[in-house]
Amino acid sequence: MRISYNWLRQYIDLNNSIEDVAQTLTSLGLEVESIDHLGKKFEGFFVGEVLDSQRHPNADRLKLCKVRVSNEGDPLQIVCGAPNVAVGQKVIVGVVGTTVPHNQHDPGAKPFVLSKVSIRGVESYGMICSENELGIGDDASGIKVLESGAQIGTPLADYLGVNDIALEIGITPNRPDCLSHLGIARDLAAALNTKCISPKVKRFDNPKNSVTELAKVNVLNTADCPRYTVRIIQNVEVKESPEWMKRLLNAAGLRPINNVVDATNFVMLEYGQPLHAFDYDHLAQHTIVVKSADKGEKFTSLDGKVHELSGDELMICDGEKSVAIGGVMGGLNSEISAKTSTVLLEAAYFSPVSVRKTAKRLGISTDASFRFERGIDPNITDEASARAAHLIAELSGGTVVAGIIDHYPKKISEKNIALRADRVNAILGTSLTVQQIVKFLASIGINITPGKEKNEFICSIPTFRPDIDQEIDLVEEVARLYGYDNIENKTSGEVMFSAPEHFEQQVFSVRHWCESNGLNEVLTNSLIDTPTAKIFGSDLVTVKNPLSVELETLRPTLLATMLQTIAYNYNHGVSRLHLFEIGTVFSAAVGNIKSTYIEGYKEKNCIGICLSGESNLLSWHEKQRQVDLFDLKGLVLSLLRGIGLDNSDLIYYNAPTSLTEMTIGVEINNTYIGFLGKVKPESLKKFKIEHNVFFAEIDLDLLTKLQSARSYKGFSKFPTVTRDVSFIVKKSVSVGEIEKVMKLAGGLQVTAVTLFDLFEGPALGEGMKSVAFSLKINSIEKTLTDAEIDSMITVIVQSVTKTFEATLRSI
């Protein structure tokens, strides 16, 4: 809501600075978002007189002028290119250092700062301006020539009478009463402990209700239109509004149109009551019928748009046709024009819900619908209508027909709400007295009478405050007027302890482990396009009203958007991508998939890890290589151990998942919690990624349900012996199987089996490989003798050679 300060001061005496007023408004919940000194953009421009104008010695088209902008000192020498400059003219002069709002020669019309310049060898000390350059008109053909009586040296803002200040105020949806200058003045007056004076509205002494002879009103839908009033103004002359009106409307951000429309807009901004002026002669049978639209009916609104109506819209009709969408917008067929001589003025109270539904459905939001949706005062209608009618008459030379048609079958009266003083203090943590509370409420027009109980009141709520609905709303009013800053910041209280939940702790550990181990955390989009989503998942969840088709489907996995990130970074020259993301993935809960919270939908907290490009940093001590599956496998296992899940197990299977190949399943205590593998080439192609990507996704909801309590186990006090053993086996024999057999054969005394060498070569024979293991052996009971160790090794070697048809290479 844009407020003119000059306008506001018509209703309230304000002696405070604009900053103080702004602060008071903000402390009332009417947040001042900006203060715009309207004359500020004219600073540095003055009225001047052209004393002399000669041809520029070096340029035919330029003139060398002497311009007086002050009664003292020498006139300014200014080079001017305008064709219409002439001696004796009163003109607008910008002096050196001034910012000119629009550069006529710049395609973007950007502002620029005047400096002392030399133009073709002659110094110029300022500029004579056109309307266009100052943004006060469209004429760019030459300089603006002022009337001859203009006083030399007058600042332009004063000359134009632009001394107003506009306040941009953020009005929350609960305060429709403040969508008007009077409403804001009323709240401000309460806070400043002063009076708000409403405008004096003329009334007729003549009791004759002549208007009923000229028009008829028939309201068929009183539910959506509880009140409808009509006044008529005759013999109007539609023309431009006077300066004072145009200035105030402009300051409040509304474009002046003509005196009739301006008067209705003025009263809307004054009282908050939207009004509509019809051309009386265009209303068939001079009748107004308020009813629901016909289904399929087409209606052309004032802005020239054609709307097809559903039948639920409330329409204002004449004897034959629709002439306005009630509370939303008028029609082209009954618009005020230069030919209008009689005005039928509508002032109504429409149901907020009905107006909102109609405005939403038709995709229209107007100053009128905005106010009706939020709820205007149903009992201000008559006064606002009278105010507007007389204003129209005054501005247009017309006459107001005596009387009003007021269709208001069921008066909306003030609500009564009980308020307990103790309750106010209990909620706010204050110790306000009964007198204080009563005074605050009375200051905003609430009438208070004693209630049944002690310290209880009955508050009668004016109809301009539809937001005050129950006791708590009155508590807020008291708090607002007392001042939030005057309420204590209470920092003592009962001690409460919180134990972070296991989920929180584990996710924290996972994230910090990843960070410490060189992974970059990313946060990616939750919505992707449907074709891509289909590559990565099934049972997708889509949004009915997406921003665009690119953002239509909730991600079924973190992989898709992580691949987007990888493609983006490869395109920006990155060659090493080790990323992780912790986030939610979504699917429809169909078949045996269980819903998480909302029936039919499953949400899962996951961590996704992607490795691609170089494995290690470029360095002098180590060759750089590309990541492979074993980088990711080792990383996932280390991560699980790192967060205390020592009993994790990787299950080798090549069951194809939709996302990866060479897939390895991750199990802990026989619970499947995720997988890792190599991203399928088709998926990579989709994102034009030319490198391998290895991806792991682990379900954090499952992971964090697992307990990772560590406990102490005794360890051997006796020395550990290391023995190496190597075999030649068929290539098809997996290392994992050999390890298992060795551990089984060695028993508990073999504490570690580590593969440390693996190679193939012609020397080993076709289809064979060499595998070398380092074994750590010790006993919890004693120091093992060489002979004991030898015999253990023999058992191990025999098992391996027998099971896998392996040959012992060395011990």
Partner: protein, 337 residues
């Protein structure tokens, strides 16, 4: 007599020891002064001749000297040995060290973790809720009347007519109030969605932290105290703040909290739109309708609730001017945090 001997020996050692530059010379020193028959040992011999009552004083003096000499000896020994090995291996120690790749946490996560740690220290637990939410939890239970303009404050993505992508983390308040016993003091972080065009200043999803405290006798003064404590911890103890009345359907009275712009220190700049203030959170007393909807009697218990945007605060915190950069995940960006 013994006094003099001690002083003499001390100055002799002070003269010789600093001049030693080889391990051989150091070994010679050890034998001469520190061995069993060395000069320090002879002081202990001399101690035997001192009258009984003076023994402790002299003994202490000799001990002090011995300890100091031994310490200097060890230091010198170490430094001689290391310089010796260096010379021998001829290593260029300016070679780069073997660095570990550096990982990062996303700046939004870092902001969120900072917030969480402060609230946890103030006795708040942390709970989560779904991102696909029903109209009841997202709007209705939170006192958003159907067809009320308040719904316009939050443009909504619909999955079905009555299923939405949550527009705020506040529906988790309804879930916890219905499922957990009082007193209840929790924060609820998470991702939320708004059907708004993506621009430098707004994204269609962002992250929020909601907070809730419901108990007997919770007051507006408690709320203000909690918010001030949080803000001073998070933004710095020297910040200035102000509370403004505001409006949310689910709280009454409602407030918004501004702090002085930390970029311009309140003088006005582009970030704070020349106002000198930055809006950092919204809050209020839980509306009695919401308490009732969640099965609590507003005459018996009261509560406060607050909410703040993590992304916007991260923007301000790190001086970032385009919110979209958070989700581009450019490594040149991520590696700055």
């Amino acid at each position: 007599m013994l006094d003099q001997k001690i002083t003499e020996l001390q100055s002799e050692i002070d003269r010789i020891l600093p001049a030693i530059s080889t391990t051989d010379a150091l070994e010679k020193f050890r034998i001469e002064f520190l061995s069993r028959s060395g000069k320090l040992a002879s002081l202990y011999e001399a101690l035997k001749t001192v009258p009984g009552d003076q023994k402790p004083a002299y003994g202490q003096k000799i001990n002090t000297l011995k300890k100091s000499v031994e310490a200097q000896f060890e230091l010198l020994k170490e430094s001689l040995q290391s310089s010796f090995s260096e010379q021998k291996n001829d290593i260029d120690i300016t070679l780069p060290g073997r660095e570990r790749p550096r990982g990062t946490r996303h700046p939004i996560t870092q902001t969120l973790e900072h917030m969480k740690s402060i609230f946890v220290s103030m006795g708040f637990g942390i709970v989560y809720g779904p991102e696909i939410e029903d109209d009841y939890h997202n709007f209705e239970a939170l006192n958003f009347a159907p067809n009320h303009p308040a719904r316009d404050m939050q443009d909504t993505f619909f999955v079905k007519d009555d299923i939405v992508l949550r527009t705020h983390t506040t529906p988790v308040q309804v879930r916890v109030m219905k499922s957990r016993p009082l007193p209840l003091r929790v924060i609820m972080p998470g991702r939320v969605y708004r059907n708004e065009a993506v621009s430098a200043r707004s994204n269609y999803f962002f992250h929020q932290v909601d907070g809730l405290y419901v108990d007997k006798n919770v007051t507006f003064a408690d709320l203000k105290g909690t918010l001030v404590t949080f803000a001073k911890n998070f933004y710095g103890s020297d910040i200035k703040y102000r509370f403004r009345p505001s409006y949310f359907p689910f709280t009454e009275p409602s407030l918004e909290m501004d702090i002085t712009c930390f970029l311009c220190k309140g003088n006005g700049c582009r970030i704070c739109k020349q106002s000198g203030w930055l809006e950092v959170l919204g809050a209020g007393m839980v509306h009695p309708n919401v308490l009732r909807n969640c099965g609590h009697d507003p005459e018996k218990v009261s509560g406060y609730a607050f909410g703040m945007g993590v992304d916007r605060i991260s923007l301000l915190r790190y001086g970032i001017d385009d919110i979209r950069i958070f989700f581009e995940n450019d490594l040149r960006f991520l590696n700055q945090f």
